[in-house]
Symmetry: C2
Subunit: 586 residues, 2 copies
């Protein structure tokens, strides 16, 4: 079944064509619940990004519609998320002061570049690049980001002014400002923080005791933050907390944003390019991972390259409608999924819900304390913090542990972009280091079979004049010299050897540098009267070797089966066979 | 036999203890010939580096003695070489004007940093890092450098003043200056260029016809450049060419250099650090490659990590004695080897020879035309230019060709450091890309054996309910998702499958990301009633898996032998066996 190009690039044509009344009802219900959850989140994450609260709402309208048209996940909920908001603040904090016109312009540009970069990657089918961000790197990064975000919001709970993009800066700034704590702010912030923590674990059982179903109770408990917002706003109005130094959200413009071209004459744009790439990649990886998980639950599929286009379109939409960089959020997508969303239409309805809220409810936000939003953020991001990956990777493999801990540590002390960059670099460098010093095993025949196994692990039959060496890696430039040295070392230790067979079961490639190393080994062994053979060479490798004259120069030959090769050599020599493991100095 | 730490770090103790009279005579003879060859080369390469000629001589004294003490190659000849001289000019050309005090100070600092970096790498046993510079990258780099060097010397033949560190700059500058050509200079430069070309091919046969042995004729023809130097110096003196605009070497200080600390207060030192790393790595790789080749001819060995220390000591010595970055040179080492050098003492004697020359013969250099030195360089470097690697790699593998051509092209258009950096990046990126999209083969039983081969390449037996899949790569973060997708794709195309066996002969590692992918595959297959098995898991991989609970979660089991696994599954099911290749949609 060949898909049309239209359907490939416009997934909405597929699900839109089959849209039915029951689906509409499910999607509408999910949209209502997600809208209620998304309003406080949008306001809070805009605060985290250092932007006016309405930009959080704007980022939750048009981008959702764009994703619904171009995205392949049926249930992913796109919008402002914590980590991307932190990265946005970090990127534009270098360029302009929070609250300035330049800061807002930079956020729009960042969304534009991020969107164009994602679209470009999608059109060029470069989604595979995200695979180079390993799970340990992502886990370390998310945990560190959660910690930084939580500490960055403490200032709103204490009512002080500090800034810093890594943990050290934040802690030092907080320590210096703690004496200026505003007690009225704390009096709002701490109770709401405690309430929100309780909502996470205590509200659902309470609702269930009140007779709600498990699912309904779960859904309803997600709307807890709205209660906190209403309660603290009322308190701020009644007690006139604003005049006691409690910072309030203040006037939020009413209505939906007008479409505007981002200001490309902003001279900061060059500096934003690299940040846009980081934000795009992190946003994409997180979003695809959420999308995969949800799709698998319903036996659906997402297409990473088309997801790039969906997220790219969402970010371009954010740039033109007064938003800032967006991506698929985990918590909100799970709510959307659990609430029964069937198609991306739920996202469109959510956008409409947010627009309605922006048109009619913004005046009520004037008395909302920022401390309440900060508490919402802290409670949300602490669920991202998960140190278990450190323990798990430590128990599994040192290289994975190093990748996790490098990313975690560098993100904490040097910021988000350095953290991701060092994590990717460390994981790739460790992988390359491992493949450059591959495991090699001298192998012998498992008695009574045609199988050859490591002489150190199994009781096998070997022959003193034959060295059967299994190289557990592709032969390529970074390990060609290492393998060469190892062969000479083994020959020095085993002077009786007259035949060296390289067993190539694990050799998936022989590149030009490795071919030259093999030629040099062949030449040097020939000089010493030792023949070189290869065995079990795979089709693709053999195809490449056949294009060269290596096979004609080879002193020995290439055997399809290692066992038959050994038999052939034994038959052609007067070699005495010996049972059991010999003295292989390895 | 355990080597003492002294002997390990001071190879001179090993060969020095056994030094004999015959060895002395061989080494002395080789030193005389290398000295005669090295004098014009040292002067010429200093010119190429933009440095005063005496610095070339100084770089050929103490560094040779330092290498003789610490180096492991018996016959490597260390000193100024073409490529490193070009890299030196390129590095310090950014910082100071050629001929200025700052330029000379920068050259000394560059030698110091380069030496310290090499020493540090040696002490930390980091010689393996050089393996990441693949042969195609080096070949492309050397060829491009040769071209740039040759064009950079044309100005001396034409008698004009131009500069530029890449081919475009050079060609544009030469085109602009060609009208100012000094005909007297050309009248010196062209004949000497022609003479030197002829020396390379025509002098040796002539000497042999005159009765010299093949070897003696070969040796003597290497001293040809000295003839050119003498002839053109005499001509410059007799015809007073200096007053006709022919640039001469001029006064060269007499004697040997005094030891001096490099000027660390030079503010340019930060900018030199990166260049020092590039120069060190390129110099080390070239030197080790020459050292390996020569050592192999006499069944000797070199130790790359100790070579780092030898070359590091040589560069530190150069920094303290008025030299500039040095390394092992190919042409000169071959001459040293062919002339019968037996131990590094030959290098020490060469240093003495150069010192004698510096004490007594420098006054005679005053009339030496720079055009003569330029001709020496051009003839020497054109032997580095070798485009055959382009053809060879094209015929072998696209990835090798891309690595060669990227390095060649970027070096030519953007300079030496960019060229090496892009080459290394390209070769690593290509390697990672290949391993991130590994070859996977559905395999079946070769009739009558226990072997399993690709169903597309061999006539094999398969079973419709068993999918035997061989993954031809280690499972790691960059390919975990790719492999997961491929398995689901194959299952969609082959709905009868109830058992999936991943044949792990080529799987040398399973990292944490890949383990999580396997867990997710296992989980998803379980949901569909399909069992997952692994077979032929290697010892090191199995050791790691045993540390996790993956094996207890696994719906199937892990088979030591793929064949026995298939037999066991067949025995436990009512699956009908089928002969020949089935309809595997792959």
């Amino acid at each position: 079944m060949k898909k049309s190009v239209f359907k490939q690039y416009l997934p909405i044509l597929a699900w839109g064509a089959e849209y039915q009344r029951e689906t509409l009802i499910s999607d509408l219900l999910a949209a209502v619940i997600v809208t209620i959850m998304l309003i406080p989140q949008s306001l809070a994450y805009a605060l985290l990004a250092g932007l006016p609260p309405e930009m959080g709402l704007y980022a939750s309208m048009l981008p959702l519609i764009a994703y619904a048209i171009f995205g392949t996940s049926r249930t992913l909920s796109v919008g402002p998320v914590a980590v991307v908001s932190l990265m946005t603040a970090s990127a534009i904090g270098h360029i302009a002061a929070p609250g300035s016109v330049g800061y807002i312009e930079a956020a729009l540009l960042l969304a534009l570049f991020s969107g164009l970069f994602l679209l470009g990657m999608g059109i060029l089918r470069m989604g595979f690049l995200a695979n180079f961000l390993s799970h340990p790197v992502i886990a370390g990064f998310i945990t560190a980001s959660g910690i930084i975000i939580a500490f960055s919001q403490l200032k709103h709970i204490l009512g002080v002014t500090v800034s810093g993009e890594n943990l050290f800066h934040l802690l030092r700034a907080l320590a210096g400002e703690v004496a200026n704590t505003n007690m009225y702010t704390v009096a709002v912030g701490l109770p709401v923080l405690a309430f929100l923590f309780w909502v996470r674990s205590g509200l659902k059982p309470l609702l269930m005791r009140a007779g709600l179903s498990d699912k309904a109770a779960g859904m309803l408990s997600k709307t807890g933050p709205v209660l906190g917002i209403i309660a603290t706003s009322v308190a701020a109005y009644v007690f006139d907390l604003g005049s006691h130094g409690v910072k309030l959200v203040g006037d939020v413009p009413n209505g939906i944003p007008s479409l505007q071209m981002p200001n490309l004459s902003n001279s900061a744009w060059r500096e934003l390019l690299v940040s846009a790439i980081f934000i795009s990649v992190i946003g994409f990886v997180e979003s695809v991972s959420v999308g995969h998980t949800l799709a698998a639950k319903r036996r659906q599929k997402i297409t990473p390259n088309q997801e790039l286009i969906g997220l790219g379109a969402a970010n371009v939409a954010a740039a033109f409608s007064g938003g800032y960089p967006v991506t698929g959020g985990f918590a909100r997508s799970v709510v959307n999924f659990d609430a029964g969303a069937v198609t991306p239409a739920a996202g469109m309805f959510t956008a409409v819900g947010i627009a309605v809220a922006a048109m009619f409810f913004t005046p009520y936000l004037a008395y909302l304390p920022k401390a309440t939003l900060a508490a919402t953020i802290i409670v949300a991001v602490l669920s991202l913090v998960d140190f278990s990956i450190l323990k798990r990777s430590w128990g599994y493999a040192r290289s994975d542990f190093i990748a996790v801990s490098t990313t975690l540590f560098i993100t904490l002390v040097a910021g988000v972009e350095s953290g991701v960059a060092c994590g990717v670099f460390a994981s790739l460098a460790l992988h390359l280091y491992k493949t450059s010093t591959p495991h090699m095993a001298v192998v012998g025949e498992v008695p009574g079979t045609e199988h050859y196994r490591n002489v150190n692990r199994h009781k096998v039959i070997t022959h003193s004049e034959i060295l059967s060496l299994r190289v557990d890696e592709s032969l390529y430039f970074a390990n060609a010299g290492f393998i060469e040295d190892r062969i000479y070392e083994l020959l020095e230790q085993n002077p009786a050897v007259r035949h060296v067979i390289l067993m190539c079961t694990a050799v998936n490639e022989i590149d030009l540098s490795a071919l030259e190393a093999l030629e040099s080994i062949n030449h040097r062994l020939s000089d010493s009267g030792i023949k070189l053979y290869l065995s079990e060479v795979k089709g693709p490798v053999s195809d490449v070797l056949k294009k060269t004259d290596f096979i004609t120069h080879l002193s020995g030959e290439i055997f399809l089966s290692h066992h038959h090769g050994v038999q052939k050599i034994l038959a052609s020599t007067a070699g005495q066979e010996s049972d059991g493991v010999e003295n292989w100095n390895i």
